[in-house]
Symmetry: C2
Subunit: 141 residues, 2 copies
Amino acid sequence: MSCTITLKEKGLKLTPQRRLILEIIHDSEGHLTAEEIIEYVQTRVPGVNKSTIYRTLELLEGLDCVFRSEISGRHVYHHAEEGHHHHAVCRSCGKTIDCDEDLFSSIERTLESKFGFHADLHHMVIPGLCRNCQQKVQPAK
Amino acid sequence: MSCTITLKEKGLKLTPQRRLILEIIHDSEGHLTAEEIIEYVQTRVPGVNKSTIYRTLELLEGLDCVFRSEISGRHVYHHAEEGHHHHAVCRSCGKTIDCDEDLFSSIERTLESKFGFHADLHHMVIPGLCRNCQQKVQPAK
DNA sequence: TTTCATGCAAATGATTTGCATAGTC
DNA sequence: GACTATGCAAATCATTTGCATGAAA
């Protein structure tokens, strides 16, 4: 993994905890919330502390090994090798659809030319309803 | 204000606190964070409690008197009469540019036809850099 | 005079931080 | 052995909640 090399180059240590966290993010397609990562880490190796995981994630983000974004205030991570892209997330079932990086590029161009605003639309989370959940009856509650 | 009528119709009470909060949201163009609203309310009437303000905002959202969205985990409100629209927010100076409601409509169409995904892109917050801040030298830190 | 709303204080929940100890290089 | 990383516990910070009191209708 390129990340382990990056760690070494920076004089940072490759601890078992960091290996494990890297491995988990690496093996998952799509994004993981910080909580999911904590859960998976602790399932495999009980006793690893939350703080360690948060600190590692912050570190890896700084090294551009993982990208971080936010879904309703929570941190969400995916590994950098996936490249930038967007997620359409179903608010009913949670299913995620990965979308192309340039989905928003026309909007970036519009904002640039209209307002001179340089938008960062690199890893958007798009809320909505997936095909299946649209078909379910939506109770008026 | 239509909101006060809505309150009465629902058998809800029009208290001074609610009046004030409505007035503040109404008088501001653009969005306000919950914290800003709390600050403005307490400047005008010291002693109004945070919980009251949060509860009122929640209530007003339920009545569709205000719209709520999120900027980096924080609640952000604007009054409903402005209609749906989007904000391009400069991450350097905080300046906000209001954008047209249908800025994202082509993306909505793309997601719909490609994946059958029904996106809710009603009140997006678009991070980026405004014209002025792009011109400032970006120190490498 | 009966709901509904407020204030207060305490709870929440994700994330962060200080500090002593332990592990990597 | 030096310096970094970890675990633990306590601190944050925005938001929420329970409950007794107070105010609209």
